[in-house]
Amino acid sequence: MHAPTGRQPITSPDLSVSLGGLALKNPVMPASGTFGYGREYASYMDLNRLGAVVVKGLSLEPRSGNPPPRIMETPSGMLNAVGLQNIGVRAFIAERLPYLRAFDTKVIVNIFGETIDQYRRVAEILDGAPGVHAIEVNISCPNVKKGGVAFGARPDLAAEVTRSIRRETGLPLIVKLTPNVTDITEIATAVEAAGADAVSLINTLTGMSVDIEKRRPHLANVTGGLSGPAIRPVALRMVWQAVRAVKIPVIGIGGITSAADALEFLIAGARAVQVGTANFLDPATLVKVIDGIEAYLIRHGMTGIAELIGSIDTGPAGRP
């Protein structure tokens, strides 16, 4: 069907993509919260290889996070209730950003807040920081009671956060969506209209597990965010829906462990992908995903990733 054509064999296909003003050398990056502040992985890979580094979610002030136990394995997934522990945006800029600036890769800073004003102020601080290439706004983290959930679950609030950050910064603005909603397209179109340059999805699905001997939840926080391969089918469905609903680029996230998994998202229309939980299974996953995508393009005689993105043929049932 998609066999190589009669053209010259392709040896180095063009992997570069553009995300609403942000040019990446390839479409592969870590998902926030699974890659620390980047340095943690530097001994396992050449960070220069990555499309971007996405750092752990930052807030205006440092946060100590939730009490342990914070994680629990579930079938093909894990629950986490880290509680958005982070060193705060100022410490990040002072202590962690300089290290990242030495690499020839884009730095995307994930942020969150508990009020519109907090979001706004974090964005304001980052806007002036050299070496920050884009902001990803987490309006979705389900771990913190007063946190993202309310913003990401309602189109009006999601739009409001987006607008208020948009006013503060000219940096490319990626809004990261929660899957814990009835209709993802409603939220995606709302943040698009409010000025987002891209959307990324999905954040974790809210889940829970119970220790049947102790008869209490495995997580001290009771519920946590479900990530990993288990959620991939839900993520892929939502990405496909979002791609058809908005004109801005969509970044696919959820359960990606291999190039094959990443290709599902790209074929469904994601302009780029983020790898989260899989970094824990093998710290070199990101590089393997990049290499695997390149090998696929070569095998299929494609000159660039653009030929692949959104090339899904959904047949009669997929027509809107």
């Binding site: 890659f35 996070g65 093909s76």
Partner: protein, 282 residues
């Protein structure tokens, strides 16, 4: 950029039960695998399998190099899915091993007497520490190492009989089938005031109740004590923040620290809560 580390391909050389529910495994690793220090751990998974999803952390029980190979030894207790599947693996089975990870024990040169307090499979890192600190020629005198070893019954201590040549081994069993009839901290309690706090150091690893009892015992005794803690881990390398333990400084600062990166060995007096420390018990 300090690039170059990677998951190592491990091959099981030997995997056999030592005592009921306890296994000893030897894994052959490539020569490039770095030397672990006592108290460090590895993250282990079955190669090519996705269930269980996360790798499992195990302390280094022993480590040698032989020719081109690095031989890693683990001692583990079967408590759930991951360790259950591990115990069913045969020689030749393929593992992926990340490590060595974490910060191990520090044996201050000024220490004249080392007290080891092991509960059950918590013996693993202490065994490695003992061997590294006392077993090699030119190292310390075995008489200076007193090893308190608590277990459910005589089986586990019996299977590690080799320990006794390296130290003064004192055994406590829950069922009284060997040594002191009671907990290892109960046994230690009877002895502890006989040791001169100056120049003595304590090294512990075991189930949460043991660590708590140890903390209590040391509350008004000025003996330095390092313990190896456990917490559920996803990454093992400081990225996920999953393995938090609440610690406090003498200045009253309270912070979560990462067991995988800032531990697993901590000063017992810094640990605010020992409740989530669950290493396989005696």
């Amino acid at each position: 950029m300090d690039e170059g580390k990677a998951m190592a391909a491990g091959e099981i050389v030997d995997n056999r039960p030592l005592a009921p529910g306890h296994y000893h495994m030897t894994v052959r690793l490539p020569a490039s695998f770095a030397d672990p220090s006592p108290g460090q751990f590895v993250m282990v998974r079955e190669a090519g399998r996705m269930e269980p999803l996360l790798s499992r952390p195990f302390s280094v029980f022993d480590f040698h190099r032989r020719g081109e190979d690095a031989l890693l030894e683990l001692l583990y207790r079967t408590v759930g899915r991951g360790t259950g599947l591990l115990s069913g693996m045969k020689p030749g089975g393929a593992l992926s091993v990340l490590g060595p990870l974490g910060r191990g024990f520090t044996m201050d040169p000024g220490i004249r007497r080392a007290l080891f307090v092991a509960g059950g499979v918590g013996v693993a890192p202490l065994h490695f520490l003992l061997r590294r600190a006392f077993a090699s020629p030119g190292k310390r005198d075995p008489g200076d190492a007193v090893f308190y070893f608590g277990a459910a019954s005589r089986d586990l201590p019996a299977s590690l009989a080799g320990l006794s040549g390296l130290c003064d081994l004192r055994i406590a069993t829950d069922d009284g089938s060997r040594g002191f009839h009671g907990t290892v901290t109960g046994l230690l309690e009877g002895d502890i005031d006989g040791y001169d706090p100056g120049g003595t150091a304590l090294f512990g690893c075991g189930p949460a109740p043991m660590i708590r009892a140890l903390a209590l015992l040391l509350a008004d005794r000025p003996i330095p004590c390092q313990v190896s803690l456990e917490e559920r881990m996803a990454c093992g390398m400081g990225a996920c923040l999953g393995c938090a333990v609440a610690t406090g400084t003498p200045e009253g600062e309270r912070a979560y620290r990462k067991v995988c990166e800032e531990g697993p060995v901590f000063d017992i007096r810094q640990i605010l809560s020992l409740l989530s420390c669950e290493q396989g018990g005696p």
